[in-house]
Amino acid sequence: MSLDYENDSAFHEELITQVLSQYPNKAAKRRQKHLSVATGGEEVGEEGQISECDVKSNIKSIPGVMTIRGCAYAGSKGVVWGPVKDMVHVSHGPVGCGQYSWSQRRNYYVGTTGIDTFVTMQFTSDFQEKDIVFGGDGKLEKIIDEIEELFPLSKGITVQSECPIGLIGDDIEAVSRKKAKELEKTIVPVRCEGFRGVSQSLGHHIANDAIRDWVFGKDEVEFETGAYDVNVVGDYNIGGDAWASRILLEEIGLRVVGNWSGDATLAEMERAPKAKLNLIHCYRSMNYICRHMEEKYGIPWMEYNFFGPSQIEASLRNIAKHFGPTIEERAERVIAKYQPLVDAVVDKYWPRLQGKRVMLYVGGLRPRHVITAYEDLGMQIVGTGYEFGHNDDYQRTGHYAKKGTLIYDDATSYELDKFIERIRPDLVGSGIKEKYPVQKMGIPFRQMHSWDYSGPYHGYDGFAIFARDMDLAINNPVWDLYDAPWKKTTVPAERLAAE
């Protein structure tokens, strides 16, 4: 169901020139490398060629420009480790980091919170001045003891380092090793201090490495394996995404033995090396551990995309192919089973959404993965970009983005606001910090990190919700009420000019 359209390259080039002209020279030179216009995908897929979305990425943000990026701690505690439900994740350092990230990522899970699961809680060592001066290792030991006393059913502990830890020279590895031995529990020190790296991204990598170093390869894990065992990697179960995915994978006959890391338990992570295949959704945040498992345990990995029916269909077929005819046949049955739902959803929403233009600015996999989901509903992507993508993300984006699409890496608030103001798309998909400025302009918005408190968006069940949500955002009557009737306004004129 690939949609055929092209964006206005010349206009987008002009926008880039305009925003760059506002920066001091030094900053303009640096920002220039992060902005481009997609050249279109005829030659897509050839090895070694320059990407169609060629921008510099994964380099330091410029100071003072209002980057939307977070930090390594956010990548580790907020993304990779935080959702592991039966472990206690201690935000080690001052109180703020844990407070601001507390319960904000909507990693759904089932459990008795505070007793056997701990995701929506904020454990912190609440560093005081004396801990900075004298070091926090002693406090950490005590914290681990107190967790053991008050939360005895926790299966393990992770120590999520905040900025000061690495600066004051604490040895959290030694503390973790000592206490793990003493308590016979998994204790994982994670060096995800916020100043490391240039964004959340290094935090993902560090968190992946911590799994490799502190979870894998310990005692022999007993587990009866099967021929169709898979791990789902890089699905954080936001609003239940992983559940809406799991149901499909089980339906085609696979056994999901571990889900990383939404709704995950430590046991699921420990036994991961026993699976037959790793299915990776968020490539950016968890490709590292997949590569490790491939090298060390010979487990192949495969990317897939469960946003929107075209990609779900293609992914199911691709996954099934790996396992042979039995699974392939079941996959076809599953695709056929859901086709009436897909048709009904598309029939209902296509007329309401067709031709609507969307700008995206998100993280992880979504700047490319959700593009086809919009196109499945007749919508068009005019601009997209990654908060913390790498070169391999932009290469992969070429397969999705149409010619003329505006591409922005680590966009600043200034750039985004200007792009949005001039392009005036029908919908913007980005995060909480971007939501309200965009809505003030009278442009519909959906948070595409948290699904705006809705979801799931993965799988067939999720696609229906996705379609509903995009419709309710765009077609709400409030957007027509912005202008006081007694005041002549410029908004419609601008809108006309942009078209």
Partner: protein, 513 residues
């Protein structure tokens, strides 16, 4: 198949469908290696006991579900209350993303702030370059009238010299020579957001007042609101009262417009706030009044250095607290409290009298920032309610002493306990062992409501899961009405819920209450 195009189910109903319930049950059984159900139940029951409470309250190192944030959040909030002011937080960039998100989630509004984006090399060599380039970029891109610099813990641990760095940046032309760049050190490992607020406001006053001569303008008053998630409603309500009195006043720090911009097609990065010329002129005021004592200790001390009269309040909410505030304003300004305000007061008293039977003897647990807890405990006692647990994670020994004095002065405070420095996991134990009728706090309290069944009244920052409450005042007599109504609604809703079972409890499902 649970999903259909006609009736689309999102997460709340979807995962209650049988297909998903079965899938999740099997996941648990086959893959999660859970503890036996009985063990989980037993541990759950154990956490409700006095024995667990004692261990829980004896914690010395671990903090679980604290009700406080870190200093720079307060600084960013403070800076948002000044005319065209951009917050510039020196240190790691992730922090700023967090402050902005946190404020936006509460106010449902844009929140702008920049970071100097320090990384590993800056940790080694210091963040001077980040400051120099950063200020130049902020100035060029965001057209501020003032840039207010605060710090994350990273910059504090490595000991960056803010003043020196800013002067360096000025010399290098990052901002024009006369451009205003006040600053405050706001280490996250000292105090909480209320102290960050204090430091930033003081930093701004120092920037404009230092070395200046004060010419007293008799009868004029400065008001410093403190960190207040209800600033939108509160500041506007207080201004209305002060205007009714005809007082000459200046709000020092006023984020009420910044966090309540209209939707009319234009994104205003800056709106409202205390004008810079007014900050300068505020030096001459006769007195500076703080609405929240624990948010302004350093700032008021600084005001006193200029021989200004000062007075501080604990979030003037409820009858006597509002009386005292207005009388103080009247005393300093020489303006009478007009009859219209007396009538307003009478209407609040009227409402309290009408509802007193529903409020008398109700037991409360109250948590939040120190001044807020003080205010709510006091008002609750005015309605005949009994505060049982008063908790402030960022409460100091001085606050504890003040609370105890307040509670001791009323027969309704005789069973109250004050918990300074404790967190919401401690509150959980308190609520299980010594239950109350109502819990007053913020959105984080919803987990306590779930676990202990104590109805939660959301009256303090942050409120993420209810919309627009902050647009209405809590302070003043009008605010008192709002608080009163909110509490009553909670009580009536609970009573209705408990008495609505058809043919079983609905004899009490009264039409008139």
């Amino acid at each position: 198949m649970p999903q259909s195009a006609e009736k689309i189910l999102d997460h709340a109903p979807l995962f209650r469908e049988p297909e998903y319930r079965q899938m999740l049950a099997e996941k648990k059984l086959n893959f999660e290696c859970p503890h036996a159900e009985q063990i989980v139940t037993e541990q759950g029951e154990h956490t409700k006991t006095w024995e667990y409470r004692e261990k829980n309250l004896a914690r010395e190192a671990l903090v679980v579900n604290p009700a406080k944030a870190c200093q720079p959040l307060g600084a960013v909030f403070a800076a948002a209350g000044f005319e065209r002011t951009m917050s510039f937080v020196h240190g790691s960039q992730g922090c700023v993303a967090y402050y902005r998100s946190h404020l936006s989630r509460h106010f449902k509004e844009p929140s702008s702030a920049v970071s100097s984006s320090m990384t590993e090399d800056a940790a080694v060599f210091g963040g001077l370059k980040n400051m120099v380039d950063g200020l130049a970029n902020t100035y060029a891109l965001y057209d501020p009238k003032m840039i207010a610099v605060s710090t994350t813990c990273m910059a504090e641990v490595i000991g960056d010299d803010l003043h020196g760095f800013i002067e360096n940046a000025r010399t290098e032309g990052s901002v024009p020579p006369e451009f205003d760049v006040p600053f405050a050190h706001t280490p996250a490992f000292v105090g909480s957001h209320v102290d960050g607020y204090d430091s930033m406001v003081k930093g701004i006053l120092e920037h404009f007042w230092k070395g200046k001569e004060r010419t007293k303008a008799a009868g004029t008053i400065n008001i410093i609101p403190g960190f207040d998630g209800f600033c939108v409603g509160n500041n506007r309500e207080l201004k209305r009262l002060l205007n009714l009195m005809g007082v000459s006043y200046t709000f020092i720090q006023d984020a009420s417009d910044q966090f309540d911009t209209p939707s009319d097609g234009e994104f205003r990065m800056y709106d409202g706030g205390t004008k810079i010329k007014d900050v300068r002129a505020a030096l001459n005021a006769e007195a500076t009044l703080s609405l929240q004592h624990y948010n302004t200790r350093k700032t008021l001390e600084y005001c006193r250095e200029f021989e200004q009269a000062t007075a501080s309040f604990h979030y003037p909410l409820g009858v006597k607290a509002t009386d005292e505030f207005l009388m103080k304003v009247s005393e300093v300004s020489g303006k009478e409290i007009p009859e219209t305000i007396r009538l307003e007061r009478g209407r609040l008293i009227d409402a309290m009298a009408d509802s007193q039977s529903w409020l008398h003897g109700k037991k409360y647990a109250i948590y939040g920032d120190p001044d807020f807890v003080y205010a709510v405990a006091r008002f609750v006692m005015e309605t005949g309610g009994e505060p049982i647990h008063c908790l402030a994670t960022n409460g100091t020994p001085a606050w504890e002493a003040e609370m105890k004095e307040l509670l001791a002065a009323s027969p309704f405070g005789k069973d109250a306990q004050v918990w300074a420095g404790k967190d919401l996991w401690a509150m959980r134990s308190l609520l299980f062992t010594e239950p109350v009728d109502l819990l007053i706090g913020n959105s984080y309290g919803k987990y306590l409501e779930r676990d202990t069944g104590t109805p939660l009244v959301r009256l303090m920052f942050p409120i993420f899961d209810r919309h627009h409450h902050h647009r209405f005042p809590l302070m003043g007599y009008q605010g008192g009405l709002r608080v009163l109504t909110t509490i009553l609604d909670k009580i009536f809703d609970k009573l209705d819920r408990e008495s609505m079972q058809l043919g079983v409890t609905d004899y009490s499902y009264d039409l008139t209450r």
